[in-house]
């Protein structure tokens, strides 16, 4: 692997990180608006407000960067980067086309899971370092939620790895067959639920519930640092959508996969992202105890049963 190739791969991953979240964000603006009988942004950029997020970015850059006087300055400043970078790494490891991923790792599935689990630290650091009670409450809620939902997610993913007999995302896609849609359905539901919870999006947005604790861990953030947190949330949506497409929907599998494989992966991922937006618009927020009950009484058992079914099917 030459230096040029490394640079190219890094640039591709960065471009993906900067473009795809904006696409998802704009889709969310418009789809959510129309689902609520509104129009959403209509003016920025001229045609149906396509440049709204660019305008938002420009606004964020111009805002004052405020660090609270009582805050732990270094941790406060570091937190947005720590929230952002894991998703960048995870996104880079997801293969879009046969043999094409920015990071080629033999155990890319574990790599993606490990990277996303580090992202939590950014939220925790932000919440603690802000010296704000809302931020602290939000960070604690988010820690409790992420700890609970990490387990069913890993179990569901383990079932897929077991079925494919590999830890490499590319090989999982090669081993995929349409039969999986039915066979792995419980695991897929568990994975999607846990993904929404990890992203802290409605109906699992207890940690940032704006009507109770302002904006949770991000309450004290302004300007570019706040934008980084938002970007990492949307990068997380892109990442989990693509991961779901790769694990459960067969990634690039489809007609003309040799040429259009990347389009299949991105298209399937986009559909999953639409589903996430749809859930956000339709469902109310879960309370903290409901959230924990859902994780421990439903998702973990379902994931375990799925794992057992997969194991039986693989062994026999």
């Amino acid at each position: 692997m030459g230096a040029l190739e490394i640079v190219l791969r890094a640039a591709a991953a960065l471009a993906m990180l900067l473009v795809l979240p904006l696409l998802v964000g704009q889709t969310e603006h418009k789809v959510m608006a129309h689902m609520q009988g509104r129009l959403g942004p209509m003016y920025a950029g001229g045609y149906h407000g396509w440049a709204q997020l660019v305008a938002d970015g420009v606004k964020f850059v111009q805002k004052e960067d405020i660090i609270p006087a009582a805050a732990d300055r270094r941790v406060f400043k570091l937190a947005p980067a720590l929230a952002m970078i894991p998703y960048l790494l995870a996104l880079a490891a997801i293969p879009l086309h046969p043999g094409y991923a920015a990071i080629d790792a033999p155990a890319s599935l574990v790599f993606v899971l490990a990277a996303t689990s580090v992202g939590v630290l950014g939220t925790l650091m932000a919440g603690w370092a802000s010296a704000n009670k809302y931020a602290l409450l939000g960070a604690m809620r988010s820690a409790a939620q992420l700890l609970s939902y990490e387990l069913p997610m890993v179990l569901a993913v383990a079932s897929v790895a077991l079925a494919a007999g590999t830890l490499s995302l590319g090989e999982i896609v090669e081993a995929w067959s349409p039969w999986w849609l039915l066979w792995q359905l419980p695991g897929a539901v568990v994975f999607l639920t846990a993904a929404v919870a990890e992203l802290q999006r409605p109906p699992f947005d207890m940690p940032v519930a704006d009507s109770e604790i302002v904006f949770g861990p991000y309450t004290e953030y302004t300007g570019l640092r706040f934008a980084l947190f938002l970007l990492s949330e949307y990068a997380g949506i892109v990442m989990f959508s693509l991961l779901f497409a790769v694990l459960y929907l067969g990634g690039w599998r489809g007609p003309l996969a040799d040429w259009l494989g990347w389009a299949w992966t991105l298209g399937k991922g986009f559909l999953v992202a639409l589903l996430l937006i749809w859930l956000r618009v339709s469902w109310p927020r879960l309370r903290e105890d409901q959230l924990q009950r859902l994780a421990w009484l439903w998702l973990v058992p379902i994931a375990l049963v799925q794992l057992a079914i997969t194991a039986v099917a693989v062994v026999s």
Binding site: V31, A33, H34, M35, Q36, G37, R38, L39, M42, W278, L279, V281, S282, W283
Partner: protein, 218 residues
Amino acid sequence: MIPGLVKGLATTARTLTRRTHVQEYPDHRPELPPRSRGVIALLEENCTSCMLCARECPDWCIYIDAHKETIPATTPGGRERQRNVLDRFAIDFSLCMYCGICIEVCPFDALFWSPQFEYAETDIRDLLHEKQRLGGWMESVPPPPAPDPGAPPVAEVMAQRAPVRGAPRVGLAAGGRAGSERTAPERQGVRRPPSGSAAPPAPAASPKPPAQATEGEE
């Protein structure tokens, strides 16, 4: 639980497929209902600087300055009269809460609601509208809407048609009595020009309420 969740999804999906009812404001002018409260207009000629509106204003956003002018007697040996001249009439719309009390209390119909609402400013001090600007809103004041079918007759109109107190009664419709209710005499002195030198003194001087007087005559 599950049916509820599915129903929620179905509702949002159905809304997604329908046209929205949004009217984009700068391109699409809103159709405002009658009696919209946009801005308060001033008809300067009607104002007598009586200060009622300024005193009734709950947040004291009306400023009035006036001075007295002496009008020389019109007939030789007559009495000189004094008149209020309005120097300044201003409403601070950064304070105004659009309650409309000033318009209600104005005894001389000098204040009106105008539906015009596009007077946002970038400097809050520009929201202090002076006499000139308040007068300018008058042209956007719509004519009063017609009363609803079956509504009781408008008091002012009936007062206009009511007989002048003390004057010989001319044949009037039965509605005349309805018109001479409580509000009628208050308006009489203001609105109607004196119907002749034979007219009695101001209503306040009359010992009995005029409405009763009319009835007593019947």
